[in-house]
Amino acid sequence: MIKHEELIIIGGGPAGLSAAKSALEADLNVLLIERYVRLGGQLIKQTHKFFGSKNQKAKMRGFNIATLLIDGLKDAPGHLTVLTEATVVGMYDERIVTVWHDATYKKYQADAIIVATGASEKFLAFENNDLPGIYGAGGVQTLMNLNGVLPGTDIIMVGSGNIGLIVAYQLMQAGARVTSVLEAAPRIGGYAVHASKLRRLGVSIKTRTTIKRAIGENKVEACEIVSLDDQWNIIEGTEETINTDAICIAVGLSPMHQLLSMAGAKTSYISELGGLVPCVDENNQTSIDGVFVSGDASGIEEASSAMVEGRFTGLIAAKKLGHVTKGFDKDINECRDQLFNLRRGPCGLKIREGIRKLREVNDHA
């Protein structure tokens, strides 16, 4: 039996929660589906304070933002149903989804769907990269900040983007030792403020350096690192073996486009947005009528922009279903302004370029 829903939101992270809030405020009935046992997405493990402006909860710690977003759903006029520990395993024509929940498959058909599935961590090719003790940096953040367990005592971080730098710092806060942060590029990828904090703690950040192989029987015991030249080639003879019991991989994120691809939404590979992304119009609608996307699933950015995109997409989806809120135009413009501001300046260059390319793909379609 297929159950009918007005709006289904897939993913209860910053984008999904914000979308739910604006859809509920427009008096929509919402089914919010989350894979984990609780809502909040990756915010629940983020102990650092956010940057940016007050609109995006700057100066608050990630896990507190999650609580704020969840609490914000309580008083809205629309009706909210939340399924946790529920995985959407299929998405088909006519906005039908199959959900694995409570050891059964459930089918729903919705008037509109917002896909807010977020992102997955990229992997890196090197010898023995499948040994236990090699984790995604985000995976380690979950293990330590949510469960209170450290992955090891002497840790190597591969990648110096903001996730690599922040998780390395948080590992030190939690009592582990980060022996090195490796960066293949000639320069540190993340913000200087995060890198400086690490350096003050004595962590060495090695640029033009990568991991060649992991060493160990049933668990990582050491790794071999190596220098790279200007063409990213290994410089033979520069190998160095470092003892370590955990290696974190922080080499970027990929949008979780899989459900949209399965449903036949048009996608395009845009490296600036993190890989394969759905082709969306200016309202975040995919090539499938009534199917929207927001947050990292539409291109890798920050949780701050995911919250704004979520709010935006929720309003748009509500309008599509005939629920135009009072102050709709003002709210939409506010979202657009906030996104514009978040994507401004040198740090937003990549995302601006990605969005430009995506528009180009759409125009040629």
């Binding site: 961590e121 236990p132 995976g139 209170g148 367990v149 450290l150 090891g152 806060q173 668990k219 019991d245």
Partner: protein
Amino acid sequence: MGMRIQNHPILEFTEKKPVRFFYEGKQMVGREGDTIASALHANGINVLSRSVKDNRPRGFYCAIGNCGSCQMRVDGVNNVRTCITELTPNMHIERQRGLADDQT
């Protein structure tokens, strides 16, 4: 080997209640709020599964239920994603081989 965080400038873990569980029949203790994978880590168990073809050891990677390298047999059910499944009292957790189709 994994270990519990003792002191943390922002988070508080010490008040969590102990949770008894069994790994390969052996009694172990996790804590309230643990996933199965984190409880095993805290007990020094890092090899959660084996690769299908070459039987290579696998730990968890993503901790968000995405990659599948943490799948184990839990209370007789195969292929449970232990990184997103919360530990509950008296759970029986076992390693499985590959996709474990023949173990059900």
